[in-house]
Symmetry: C2
Subunit: 331 residues, 2 copies
DNA sequence: TTGTACGCGTTATCAG
DNA sequence: CTGATAACGCGTACAA
């Protein structure tokens, strides 16, 4: 590989000036600039990014932490972020934590070891007290997830309100026995808590009391959904509506219902979460809560880049985006 | 940030020995090793990767080129690769080419500028003659896609054969008027060509002749599928089976059929491609060709890492994996 | 077994 | 406007 030295030699001009040409500095004689460019082309010169990083301590790289890329919610988010980052000349390192605290910390170490300029947290596994110290090494922005004590920018919808609206929709549609599925309990996350509160508030606002037997915990996959339906089938006192908090779980319930006596939505109404593509494709069409994934990803990455380019500073602001209840056939 | 110098100073030991400890060299006095480790812990020292890269010209980073991360096929592939790479201590840079030749070349430049040690091509936009020169800068391995002239390792299924089997399945099931959808025509890709050949071979082997009107080109999305069904509906001479080459297109066809007089599968049998999760969830269940995505991703990344760690050398071998026709209700 | 000294490729500083 | 030089942090030949 040719280096800046080779270019200097070939063009008969000093390294410094070559460097200036590379970085588009003013105050370079036009004729020399030409000679340098010519030499660069001739040698197929390209700056060594490791050296640039070492020298300038900027990597033009951002780490995006998600729990699992195969989840359409996350891949959509990453897609949106990638577009904005690429546009601004940044690279993305994919950090699949797979729900592991340890992996999350390993990825946060990318910030400490100067391998990335910033970190976007789209999932959070560790308690904030564990993550907070990493702020000393660079900016961290969160998206979707958040924690109470956090002092970082955050972009997300209001899960409490979204759930409240969904459950209220059930109630207004005449359903009175409403069950809820909650996802995996994660230490660092508040989303599940918010949703549960929204559910309970909607019930109490309409003078209903929750039924402990209708709380299905740790449900997040299609298979979990299938199991939920089986458990409901075995009950004597069955719910007639269920807030699943996940399109996958909702799909599992619907798929399983076709092998059972329970009919969706006549015996059991269902509301999912995310409005994944399949929600509108299946029969019956799945009523679900749509998150503005594209906007969330774009705005998060945009904000991160503004921080990295010193156009704005870190703060603890929460940026709330709007969710939308998409009513189809299952409710 | 503390450097190796600080560790040396604190422990009263030379930089070289500290470096030896970091890199687990033999010939280091146990007592000193301890002292160094102690000092590292005390200072929270962590090696600066940019310096390591500059010095050693290894980045421990691999670029994965795909066309779009939101495609479940690609996110599954990336997930599998990520697992293997992480395990081996490598990072993945996500390269969403979005079907752009220019972006693909920009990403290949990561290899030239020493920002990554190797490149995995899971999608190919440019002709091989354009890509080939990059081999001078580091190893390139392909996965799923391939090109005739290529001299790089490749992991994929046999698309000709998979299609041949699917179409033969149609024929053996009594369908005689078989249509085909082909994806976006990409310059660097042979998959579409292979599939079309498989389709034609299956027909001719059973003394059938293709009908030009039943070739639906450039179809790759759910929406494209919907349009295909509309076009079929408008035909006087309709096919009674269709090979879609894509679960998305198949889903579009099925969804649209519910708003038309055409019934799936009685009026129109459908076969998809990939066996995405939704294929088994919808009604009717989608017959589709399953690719071993997990295995493909794992083996590709495993091979790349073996090359990067000098356990094996670059070659032009093709590693064929087995696909499987999953017969459900639509055929 | 340990330390000295050099170089990896860039860029910023400073003197001219 | 330009060039010499130092410095970024690390690894390793070489000498001891």
């Amino acid at each position: 590989m040719p280096t800046i030295k080779d270019v200097a030699k070939l063009s008969g001009i000093s390294r410094s000036t070559v460097s200036r040409v590379i970085n588009n500095h003013p105050y370079v004689n036009d004729e020399k600039r030409m000679r340098v460019k010519q030499a660069m082309k001739e040698l197929g010169y390209v700056p060594n990014s490791s050296a640039q990083r070492l020298r300038g301590s900027k990597t033009k790289t951002i780490a995006v932490l998600i729990s699992r890329i195969v989840n359409p919610f996350f891949s959509g988010l990453v897609d949106a972020m990638d577009e904005v980052a690429t546009e601004a000349g940044f690279q993305l390192i994919l950090c699949n934590t797979r729900g592991s605290k340890e992996r999350e910390l390993n990825y946060l170490d990318l910030l400490r070891t100067k391998q990335v300029d910033g970190v976007v947290l789209a999932s959070i596994e560790n308690p904030w007290t564990t993550i907070q110290p990493y702020l000393a090494y660079g900016p961290i922005v969160s998206c979707n997830e958040y924690t109470d004590q956090s002092d970082i920018p955050s972009f997300r919808i209001n899960h409490f309100q979204a759930t409240y609206e969904a459950v209220t929709h059930f109630i207004n549609s005449g359903y009175s026995n409403i069950a809820i599925c909650t996802g995996d309990e994660t230490i660092g996350s508040n989303l599940g808590v918010d949703r549960e509160k929204g559910y309970l508030k909607a019930l109490s606002d309409h003078h209903m009391t929750p039924n402990e037997a209708w709380f299905f915990k740790n449900t997040s996959s299609v298979l979990d959904g299938r199991k939920v339906l089986e458990r409901i089938e075995a009950m004597s006192n069955r719910p007639n509506a269920i807030y699943t908090g996940s399109d996958e779980v909702a799909m599992g319930i619907i798929a399983q219902s076709k092998q059972s006596a329970i009919r969706v939505p006549s015996d059991l109404a269902v509301i999912g979460f995310d409005d994944q593509q399949l929600a509108g494709l299946i029969t019956p069409g799945l009523t679900t809560i749509r998150q503005p994934i594209l906007e969330m990803g774009q705005r998060t990455m945009h904000h991160m880049i503004r921080i990295l380019t010193n156009q704005t500073k870190m703060d603890g602001n929460t940026h709330l985006l709007l969710s939308e209840l998409i009513v189809r056939d299952t409710s």
